[in-house]
């Protein structure tokens, strides 16, 4: 600092800083007592000009904010890898093997209800998409996999998916509880 900041100005600065809402001059006086609040505010605003903090007036009330040109620093995008849940994997597998299928058909195969969120997750991942409606009463939406699905799983085409016999040979048609345990070990959510 070039020269010491007067105590009154320090008080004004601290009061505005600590307040949870913008303060009027009268509010400030209630904290720091009578004095040249406007003069102090001007000095504070000048002192912070061009830094990472600015003092601004909006409709007679004063508050600190970060300058608009730095807003991009205060947000950041982070990609979070998330494992698919067991339910989502099953639904995806069923769609891949049976496409196009409706939700009711998926549920019939899985033997349990499918949460709407599960299909949303798969769509968000870009692996499935709605593919029209089935011509039966109720005209349910049907789903199929996308080209991204093939790319992500390293498949040339859906014909590359191993058949039931392959799965059995690979020991993947295990009793349910074992397969279940293996999947249960996955953390439900990744965080860091």
């Amino acid at each position: 600092m070039s020269q010491p900041v007067p105590d009154f100005e320090r008080g004004v600065e601290a009061a505005v800083f600590a307040s949870s809402e913008p303060l009027t001059v009268a509010d400030i006086i209630a904290h720091v007592g009578e004095g040249d609040v406007r003069g102090a505010l001007d000095m504070i605003a000048q002192r912070h000009a061009g830094t990472g903090i600015e003092l601004v007036e909006r409709g007679g009330r004063w508050h600190f904010q970060t300058p608009g040109d730095l807003a991009h620093l205060l947000r950041r995008t982070r990609e979070e890898p998330r494992r698919l849940s067991r339910a989502a994997l099953e639904v995806l597998a069923i769609i891949a093997y049976h496409e196009p299928v409706s939700r009711a058909e998926i549920e019939a195969i899985r033997g349990v209800q499918t949460a709407k969120g599960t299909l949303d997750v798969l769509m968000e991942a870009g692996w499935i998409r709605p593919a029209g409606r089935r011509d039966v009463p109720g005209r349910p939406l049907i789903y199929k996999t996308t080209p991204d699905f093939l790319t992500h799983f390293g498949l040339e085409s859906r014909r590359d998916l191993p058949g039931i016999d392959d799965l059995r040979a690979a020991g993947l048609l295990e009793p349910v509880d074992v397969a279940f345990d293996a999947l249960e070990l996955e953390p439900a959510e990744d965080s860091d």
Binding site: I164, L167, L172
Partner: protein, 260 residues
């Protein structure tokens, strides 16, 4: 640090009243246990706890307890236990030096004094800590921070194996229900006993239990083997066929063929 009236309030409000003799006799509720009471009494003697007279302190405490009884004030058990202990300590201290029992009463008195010092030190430290400028009371953070935002973009991940496994699971559920007793990888107690007694014959000297475990098994089985072998070792020791030794808690467990 600042001279802040609320700091004194803070301490005084929760602190028992100053230990002037009369109030000390009557107010038993203000004390947090016998050590707290002893400390307050010790402080009436000297500021430096190193220089207090334990014998005088013992008298003071016993007298307090006596009066409380006369006034039919109900005393918590730990006050009475302390009184009994101090009475014993006092009588031992009054014996001629050569007749003093073991443990040495001077040693016990010194330890009591050390405890009082430590409690006092922490009490002072706590007071000094709370006399500091505290955030939200003396100093303040920004009242209305914009906040930093992290926009999380989820990147879903799964691989082909997981997909296969999931479908395998679904298909397995759809197969006609066949009840299979899941074959759990465990070592039974009987086979552990059999195995351990066979191996103990080979071991000549104290041998770590871990050395008896097969090295190359999957972790699930390994836990079972460890548990079964441990129980087997206890059983073999009970029937007098082996000896077990362990230096300390969590140290390796050593086994050898019973020496007879």
């Amino acid at each position: 640090m600042n001279a802040d009236p609320t700091f004194d309030d803070f301490l005084l409000a929760d602190r028992p009243p100053a230990p002037d003799a009369e109030r000390l006799r009557l107010d038993i509720d203000g004390w947090e246990g016998p050590l707290d009471l002893l400390l307050a009494m010790a402080r009436t003697q000297k500021v430096d706890l190193k220089a207090i007279s334990i014998l005088a302190l013992v008298d003071q405490y016993l007298e307090f307890i006596d009066r409380a009884r006369h006034l039919s004030i109900e005393l918590a058990a730990d006050y009475l236990v302390m009184a009994a202990w101090l009475a014993l300590l006092k009588s031992a201290m009054l014996l001629p030096k050569e007749a003093q029992p073991d443990p040495d009463p001077q040693e016990l008195a010194l330890k009591l004094q050390l405890r009082l010092e430590r409690l006092q030190a922490m009490r002072d430290a706590g007071a000094r800590l709370f006399a500091r400028d505290r955030l939200g009371r003396d100093v303040f953070a920004r009242g209305a921070p914009e906040g930093l935002r992290t926009i999380r973009k989820r990147q879903w991940d799964a691989n082909l194996f997981e997909l296969m496994q999931a479908y395998g699971g679904v298909e397995a559920r759809r197969q006609p229900v066949v009840h299979m007793v899941a074959r759990r990888t465990v070592m039974t107690l009987d086979s552990a006993i059999e195995r351990l007694s066979a191996m103990i014959g080979i071991a000549l000297d104290w041998t770590d239990l871990a050395a008896f475990l097969p090295g190359d098994v999957d972790p699930e089985l390994r836990r079972s083997v460890l548990a079964s072998s441990f129980v087997a070792a206890l059983e073999l020791a009970r029937t007098g066929r082996i000896d077990i030794a362990q230096d300390q808690a969590f140290a390796p467990l050593y086994l050898r063929k019973a020496a007879r």
